[in-house]
Symmetry: C2
Subunit: 263 residues, 2 copies
Amino acid sequence: MNKAPGVVHLVGAGPGAPDLITLRAARLLAQADIVFYDALVHPDTLALAERAEKIAVGKRCGKHSTLQRFINKRLIDAARKHAVVVRLKGGDPMLFGRAQEEIDALRAAGIRCEVVPGVTAALAASAELQISLTRRGMSRNVTFVTPRVGAGEEASDWIKSICNADTAVMYMAAGQSSAIAAKLIDSGLTADVPVVIVENASLPGMRQTATTLGELQDTTECLTHGGPALLMIGRVFAQAKSAEHPLVDQAVVQEAVAAALSA
Amino acid sequence: MNKAPGVVHLVGAGPGAPDLITLRAARLLAQADIVFYDALVHPDTLALAERAEKIAVGKRCGKHSTLQRFINKRLIDAARKHAVVVRLKGGDPMLFGRAQEEIDALRAAGIRCEVVPGVTAALAASAELQISLTRRGMSRNVTFVTPRVGAGEEASDWIKSICNADTAVMYMAAGQSSAIAAKLIDSGLTADVPVVIVENASLPGMRQTATTLGELQDTTECLTHGGPALLMIGRVFAQAKSAEHPLVDQAVVQEAVAAALSA
């Protein structure tokens, strides 16, 4: 029991499609002894971890700090038993992924930790929409933000960051989209600012809804269907259209995953 | 000569390390008939395109609009000859990659186009620093921005976006870092705001310089050595340290690339 502890790899699983994971992440999964994975990780991504024990530590929206402490402890315990521990997170670990708590806990326990970046959902959505987040002549900056509607004085920070950005992408926001639109219009954005809501970016069930802040404010029905969704705002989205489509060629996805598995 | 045109894939090559490309991108490179690549793409990434004709269309900072029109034309011509055309761009195509001009030109010519997202440099830098861009309790948003120092009234937009963000990452900025720091302090940020400059994120020659806005304003020497660099600003970077280090395990990189090539 005195052997050196293993390494914990905090790995971005990418936006959803299993072939949008990095080569490094795929190799680490193939080598992993144990994988702790989030709720939104695709089964075909998990399948890359052929020889690993796989443990769901599902939580969405990062609300459960007790659960977070429990995850930290499990990662430390796993590193004391296994050489290659993978903590697999949807998207990129360092963007709204609560990676820092895990990194800090591992460091405090003397466990080595590495972070493997991933493709974040906003970039996958932009790719599928074929709309650049920083279209030349229209947008020179983009902000990624999690809004917090009705949370007192701290709430104003997210509004300022959006109102002062050329393009804004909100994560974990679609459920509050009407209230968010109202806040942004109250804060000076005009009702005609284009909005597109993208659900399940990069997955066959991807759905995009093009609208404006004004329409969104008046929309009482829920515009998403339970999948992870982004609220994207800015002039660049004026050309976005509503659509529901299997944009992803599943044969290509399967082939890439099979190749990675057999490599 | 009447066969249907091919597909042009605008592909993100990721931040630099060849194993931080996606599985989808690696498969497309392996299938490509012809690849047009940017100056910053790693040779081992290009090597994934085993059977393709490889054409450098190097430009940095996207300054040459004549060159951009020339690239557009070459992509269209290539799609009329080849089934699989890859346009390989550093980082992610939709973030400061001028992908939109190419997408629009291809559409106008009736050529089908697909975009494959990539890991953007800011996320690779965050991973190597092991500092989350959205550390809980400290940052709920991050802005990605290209500054434009001394470009008249339009210049103020980038300053506003940074001053109203919890965390900011500037691309293509390191060469003007002293002037940028001065502008931000003039605009109300305090001199003690932490800054880290990350050059060659994810590559063996990665270098990180931790400083503050005040120090940066007074620094006349150039803090980078010609590699692509990010200027990262915000409270989350208070724990950053200066370092010059081969953080990347080259053996692991080589193994992943070899596996992808043989798949």
